[in-house]
């Protein structure tokens, strides 16, 4: 039998004071999709960085097709056919598709770019992926996220890839787009490419994976498991214990309407939305990426001034386009991208928590001790790890970063909390904790509006669910009667299904 496409033996990576990897072993066969599972901080990112050469391991071996790979040399990894697609799309939005695919290795004729060949080769690569309809001359920013993902994969293919590492590729995609992605992955494996697939969404593993390796605390706790392994067993391997219940039990809410949205319009994304959220209620917003959900939250919060309509909190109208007024009225927002929109990554947990309410600690001068103590109370309430209020937020895992954002709004005692994809990129045990926090807040009478692309999450968590499509709410259902299938059906307009990968605008 031929040597495996990738073989990792006893891989160790130590940072000063931290052992990120403490002996990882696994192998990936040509033509298989090998899923890599593990909670945040388990070492998945470090592992793939070692394989792609960005990080030099402390000890251990990496073999590609039976041959040792020079470590800490990204160029060597690339030459040997290792390509990585990161969770955050690393495309330059202003470049065209063809320019993106051949970025930094543009075909040339003499000293000049061979634009014609670049276009032709790009078209060929896209065709190989089954997406010949993406125009190589279009700019990347004009494409839907799923199409951008395809462009990233085409770029990997332009390097004659033998091993493709995909780090949470589905995180930014909705269900239909994920199907498109899976179709692409199946084409690649049929060509003999080995794929390492990282995801927090356990349901995907059965759909796309062949075998599974589980990491926990920098070690392989299981490797080569069949993809059909029961979900409960995988979760147990990941967290070292069983997660009894992902979604907390909730009492039905019966408060009055705290947040009232009336005829809100913010073109082009939000056409017209009216909805209420009652005290103690968790309301979900489902729909496809690009259906206007994020823009709706931003308009409610005052980050964009709406073209029409109004937002009321406890019966009082919010000044449009004024997030500071919205906050004063009791609104809070945990934005979609916590790194670029939610947090100051170079700041301590404390300063991030107190930023909104910093004035509370100012009596002429800031009382930094009172500030830190107040932040610590909220951080501990959320069991943020590590329990060190002075720790820089950049160093925290995604789940803990999200907790820091939530701690800020706990400190603010907000009455309406807008959550945009609160559990994206968060491991399953931290997810359960975040759901618990959301349920507790609701029990305290906070009105909560959650945007999520994970329909299972909406069904498990929400009292009521709206589905948005093309800037409108097209469907409303009580949480206990909702099903994932139904939410998905309403998310997709019947005529649109075939056009899913088509460019937007």
């Amino acid at each position: 039998m031929a040597a495996p496409a990738l073989e990792v033996r006893g891989l160790v990576k130590e940072y000063p004071g931290v052992k990120a990897l403490q002996g990882v072993d696994f192998d990936v066969r040509a033509g298989e999709v090998h899923c890599l599972l593990g909670p945040n901080g388990a070492g998945k990112s470090t592992l793939i960085k070692c394989v792609s050469g960005v990080v030099e391991p402390t000890s251990g071996e990496i073999l590609l097709g039976g041959e040792p790979l020079p470590v800490g040399d990204p160029a060597a990894s690339l030459r040997r056919g290792v390509a990585t697609i990161y969770q955050e799309l690393d495309l330059v939005p202003e470049l065209t598709v063809a320019q993106s695919v051949f970025l930094a290795h543009e075909p040339r004729r003499g000293p000049f770019l061979d634009l014609e060949r670049m276009r032709r080769d790009t078209a060929a690569l896209l065709a190989r992926l089954g997406h010949e309809r993406i125009d190589p001359r279009r700019r990347v920013e004009q494409l839907r996220p799923a199409a951008q993902q395809v462009v990233s994969i085409a770029r990997a293919l332009s390097h004659d890839v033998r091993l493709l590492i995909m780090d949470e590729p589905s995180a930014i995609l909705d269900d239909e787009e994920i199907e498109t992605l899976f179709a692409v992955v199946r084409r690649l494996t049929a060509d003999g490419v080995a794929v390492v697939y990282i995801s927090h969404r356990l349901d995907e593993i059965r759909r796309i994976g062949d075998r599974v390796t589980v990491l926990s605390d920098g070690r392989t706790t299981a490797t080569g498991l069949p993809a059909a392994t029961p979900t409960e067993r995988l979760v147990e391997l990941m967290v070292g214990r069983a997660v009894e219940q992902l979604y907390p039990q909730r009492r039905p809410a019966g408060g009055e309407a705290v947040l009232e949205v009336r005829g809100l319009r913010r073109l082009p994304e939000v056409r017209e939305v009216s909805l209420d959220v009652h005290a103690g209620e968790v309301v979900g917003l489902g729909g496809l990426v690009g259906s206007g959900r994020t823009e709706l939250l931003r308009a409610i919060y005052g980050l964009e001034a709406p073209d029409a309509g109004e937002v009321r909190v406890n019966g009082r109208r919010l000044a449009p386009g004024r997030p500071d007024r919205a906050i004063a009225a009791g609104l809070g927002l945990a934005p979609e991208d916590r790194k670029s929109q939610g947090l100051l990554l170079g700041w301590s947990q404390t300063k991030n928590v107190t930023l909104v309410d910093i004035g509370r600690f100012e009596r002429g001068l800031l009382n930094v001790r009172a500030e830190r103590d107040a932040a610590r109370v909220q951080l501990r309430r959320l069991k943020t790890v590590p329990d060190d209020a002075e720790r820089v937020v950049r160093e925290l895992s995604g789940g803990n970063q999200q907790k820091v954002v939530l701690a800020r709004w706990l400190l603010h005692h907000c009455r309406v909390l807008l959550l945009d994809e609160p559990t994206r990129g968060v491991d399953v045990s931290t997810k359960a904790e975040l759901y618990r926090v959301i349920a507790d807040l609701a029990a305290d009478g906070v009105a909560i509006l959650v945007v999520s692309s994970d329909n299972g999450e909406l069904v498990g968590l929400c009292d009521r669910i709206f589905v948005m499509r093309e800037g409108r709410t097209v469907f409303e259902v009580a949480g206990e009667r909702a099903s994932e299938r139904e939410l998905l059906r309403h998310s997709v307009a019947p005529a649109e299904t075939a056009d899913l990968i088509e460019e937007v605008r």
Binding site: L344, L345, I358, V385, D388, E390, E395
Partner: protein, 345 residues
């Protein structure tokens, strides 16, 4: 992985510092400040060895601090501007224009108060124009203040037909023993043997530290520089913060202009040349990030001292101003290269 021992609620026991990176250690600010203290000490020792008769004297130290206070005041303002991820290239020209404006107000006669008010007011006006262009006109700070760099220098030259204005006799000033609160007193007078301008500089350093580290406003400044979108979502008044920082810079340019004119006994339209480089250089050497989001007044203070020592020493070693200019630029470039990569522009 989970810490099970941490009881929620008001557990007052401070946790032992973990092995990881807390803000202070991570940012490297503290480290850089300690290193600068050593640099300052070494420079002083070097001076004392190379020029034992003229360098380590009270007169020379006094002179050095007096000179440092002019750029020092600018550097404190520049720390705030750079903390918002901005820059101000116009401070040297604005300083000359502010001094000239105050000068023509009191020529042929007037009071110190009128001069100070005129210089501060005019500098604040220049700062406000920068502020409005940047905060409301959305002009990139680099371009807005580069334009002002040219405008203010032109204005300084136009105000008195390219000629300086003498300010020696404002409120009974004279170089030997200036009367209290005469203009010259601010530049050359002493209290308990320490020049008045040094008190002004140290006062601004302390006030600057308090504002940056112990007020809501200071927190907002760094938040705006660190992540503008996150600051906005947290309700920080982003535009007002940027606006006020540039107005504040203007006021400090005015104070700096007063100190310079008071030391020289005149206002000159060609003064303040390349002071923007000195101020920015001191800030960068101190460890404030050019990308915003990380600022240190203590570092800036040490950066100012470092610059002052280096130039005093070079002057004593009879190196020409041209050589000094080369060295100055090289130091600034080196300091930026030594910053952590993500802190660069």
């Amino acid at each position: 992985m989970m810490s099970t021992s941490s009881a929620p609620g008001q557990d007052a026991t401070a946790p032992a510092p973990a092995d990881g990176l807390t803000e202070k250690r991570f940012a490297g600010i503290r480290l850089q400040e300690y290193a600068l203290v050593i640099v300052v000490a070494l420079l002083f020792v070097a001076g004392a060895i190379l020029k034992p008769d003229s360098f380590p004297t009270i007169d020379n130290v006094r002179n050095m601090l007096t000179q440092a206070s002019v750029v020092g005041v600018l550097a404190i303002g520049m720390t705030f501007v750079i903390a918002t991820a901005g820059i101000d290239l116009s401070v040297g020209s604005a300083l000359a224009a502010a001094g000239m404006f105050g000068g023509i107000l009191v020529d042929p006669e007037g009071s110190t108060l009128l001069f100070v008010a005129g210089a501060l007011g005019f500098a604040a006006l220049i700062g406000s124009v920068n502020a409005i262009a940047i905060a409301y006109g959305r002009v990139v700070p680099f371009i807005a203040t580069l334009a002002m760099f040219s405008i203010a220098r032109g204005v300084a030259l136009l105000l008195n037909d390219k000629l300086p204005v003498g300010l020696l006799d404002l409120n009974g000033g004279s170089f030997g023993d200036p009367a209290e609160f005469s203009l010259l007193w601010f530049g050359t007078g002493r209290i308990f043997g320490i020049p008045v301008s040094v008190y002004v500089f140290l006062g601004i350093v302390i006030a600057g530290w308090l504002v940056l580290n112990r007020t809501r406003y200071g927190r907002y400044i760094v938040a705006v520089g660190g992540n503008r979108e996150a600051a906005r979502i947290a309700g920080v008044p982003v535009r007002r913060t940027i606006l006020s920082v540039h107005v504040l810079m203007g006021v400090l340019v005015g104070i700096s202009a007063v100190l310079l004119c008071a030391r020289l006994g005149s206002a000159s339209p060609v003064s303040g040349n390349l002071y923007e480089l000195d101020a920015i250089g001191a800030v960068v050497i101190g460890g404030t990030s050019l990308a915003g989001g990380r600022a240190t007044i203590g570092g800036t203070f040490l950066g100012v001292l470092t610059f002052a020592l280096i130039f005093n020493l070079m002057t004593q070693l009879d190196l020409s101003t041209e050589v000094q200019q080369v060295v100055k630029g090289a130091i600034v470039l080196g300091a930026v290269l030594l910053q952590r990569p993500e802190a660069r522009l």
